[in-house]
Subunit: 418 residues, 2 copies
């Protein structure tokens, strides 16, 4: 009961402060971001001291080395947090931009102006650097943010908040625009998800379980993607060297992330010449290959793929390979098994390149490029606060612009309606 009250109070504080932030001039916001960056650098010892508390508990609880690595506020991580805030300060401010303007027959001038969403709720797992990254993007886009990180990172997140608040004290931005939910109890998330009057958008970042929990319990709109089952389709007549490089990059460059390729579709006309080269490339990178019957006919030694493999997000050095009959079969496979995340075609055929861009309605559709480019930074959005495979509001990587909406502005000179 106390937690519920406190969560709502925090949300109300953020909402009130966000109103001030929404009207803040760009230079004031940029000054605040630079003060936050300087604060993180200056308070590195304090941050690492508090981080130790989380790390000790993590070791006692036997967390995996990978988890502990994500949790650690090393010098490098703190420097990245600080320079990330400086980069965000350098981005153009989306707030106040008039996107379009048109004149009506009655001479009303109608336009759309970008404004902040209001308050964003972030729910995420262990990485404490998300606390600073999300706070920076929200501040620049004029939004308040209420953060709820993983309980393993509790002391680290509270310490980051303390440093950011202290930095904002010397600026015109009210510190309360950034808040962290100071409860490790999971119940706090439920309360946060009920604050529909105070919070405009929820962004969960973490495993599929966390995201499903948030969607199920939220009364607030949620920007989410459950998983990334990304496809590379190697078309008949594709440039073989290009296809090889793209397949290897898409699968191996960083297999644990959502824009890594999970299934390679190969046109039957190129299968015999291409698959042996691709298999050799992938095997040399320790990738396990699960093949369809026709792939196995060419390479009897591979693991046979089951129906589950076509829908699998391995997030690992495993890939499914399927030989398909034609372009339509590739599109049908992606429609059936895909996750609306990212797909790429490797082709030299003009018409099929256009057809692929038109007919595949995943959030990012590419021709002759690695799926790894499906990322806010890589696409030129500045940074990325999340990625959406839900078509509402934002679809694909979401940057500063995705953290805004537009209101209609109307210039009249006395018009009334007949």
């Amino acid at each position: 009961m106390d937690i519920e009250k406190k969560v709502r109070e925090l949300a109300l504080q953020v909402k009130a402060a966000a109103r001030v932030l929404a009207a803040a001039p760009t230079p004031e916001k940029d000054k605040a971001l630079l003060a936050m960056a300087a604060g993180l650098r200056k308070q590195r010892d304090f941050l690492q001291e508090r981080n130790q508390l989380d790390l000790e508990k993590a070791r006692i609880n036997g967390l995996s080395a990978a988890m502990i690595d994500r949790l650690t506020l090393s010098d490098k991580v703190i420097e990245a947090m600080a320079s990330g805030l400086e980069e965000v300060a350098a981005f153009p401010d989306p707030v106040g931009e008039v996107v379009r303007m048109w004149r009506r027959p009655n001479r009303l001038l109608v336009g759309k102006m970008r404004i902040p969403l209001g308050v964003v709720g972030m729910i995420y797992e262990s990485r404490p650097n998300v606390t600073a990254d999300a706070a920076g993007l929200c501040l620049k886009s004029g939004n308040g943010v209420i953060l709820r990180g993983g309980s393993e990172a509790f002391h680290s997140n509270m310490a980051v908040l303390e440093v950011l608040h202290e930095a904002l004290e010397s600026t015109s931005i009210p510190p309360a625009v950034i808040q962290v939910v100071p409860f490790v109890e999971r119940q706090a998330i439920n309360y946060l998800l009920q604050c529909e009057e105070e919070i405009d958008l929820i962004i969960p970042r973490g495993g599929e379980g966390l995201i499903r929990f948030v969607v199920e319990h939220s009364r607030i709109p949620v920007i989410k993607h459950y998983k990334g089952v990304c496809h590379v389709f190697v078309d008949a007549g594709a440039e073989v060297e290009m296809a090889r490089k793209i397949v290897v990059n898409a699968k191996v460059h960083r297999p644990g992330v959502c824009n890594a390729a999970e299934t390679i579709l190969v046109h039957r006309e190129i299968a015999e010449s291409f698959i042996p080269l691709m298999v050799a490339d992938l095997k040399s990178k320790d990738v396990e290959i699960r093949g369809c019957a026709r792939t196995l006919a060419l390479f009897p030694g591979l693991v046979p793929a089951t129906d589950e493999d076509w829908a699998a997000e391995y997030l690992d050095l495993i890939v499914a390979v399927k030989v398909i009959d034609d372009f339509d079969a590739a599109v049908a496979h992606i429609t059936r098994y895909g996750s609306d995340h990212t797909e790429t075609i490797v082709t030299s055929d003009y018409h099929r390149s256009q057809d692929f861009l038109r007919r595949v309605n995943s959030s990012v559709v590419m021709v002759n490029a690695s799926t790894r480019f499906s990322d806010g930074g890589q696409l030129g959005l500045g940074a990325e606060i999340g990625i959406s495979t839900t078509k509402l509001h934002a679809y694909g990587p979401m940057g500063l612009e995705g953290l805004t909406t537009t209101k209609y502005i109307i210039y009249g000179d006395g018009q009334i309606r007949d």
Copy 2:
């Protein structure tokens, strides 16, 4: 159990048909819309026959004359449904438009292309004409639609569906892109709201109770507005004749709709000269006026306003009037009591006009124009499928463009990520 299964089956049918529709060329969609319009005209007798079943039941159940009026498929209503579909056919097709395109340093060409949302679920009350209107807008924007109208209009809605399906038989658009949930049980709505894999967006239209029910039970994003507490702020130095016309139009033109004005804020410097004229105007139109203490000091005969009046959506010939000290107080009042719908300032001051447009973040903010222009048709969006006071995805009147999203399209020539 049977209802649940049937609702999901229908949603799946719509989803599959919507995939075909999403790729349909504009002329095919327009042909379908014209066939639907012709069908409604041709089947007028059939529609009115079925409509009689609903009307008889309505009379037995003692529905109000206003309700029965909304339920009636008169010649005029059927003609409006048909010509509405013809108008939608004439609108530009938003699907496939490339909104923007930019080049990255690595020569990737990145763009955003408009695509349909997928499947829209409409939940509405008695008007059976919504069935055709919503079907037309969804079809043009490439979306499947699953409709659930009020149980009082059950036979009418099913008849409209039958006519639209028959019209689509002669076109290349699969009839299943339009479906009506054939159950009067309210439980059917709950099942619909669980179909998050099949339906991309829910648009409820009706009273606040229906909308709150939908928001509470939906796992699917909802576009909604609860109410419209629209303000007219008459600034010091406003042109008095203009202000009088705008106040009367905003309040009286159609008091029962959400963009009618509910509160008039009057700057104290103009109160003494303006309020007597405004009160006379409004009284001559039978408007009941509820005034603040300072308004009552000028006009002792008025009803005193309570705190509830400032937040009231009367939807009737009643208006609240408040004298305020300055511009900031007007903005503060709107922020506190407004519903993020529509506000207008009547002013002759350049700086305050700009400040109002900048500082008030309602979905539609106007200078020197009646709030009644806050409407998709009036703003030039073509038609309107709904209005949103939630900032996610769409904010304000929502037309064809609001029924689309954008995917990223990327033209590469072999780029991989370093």
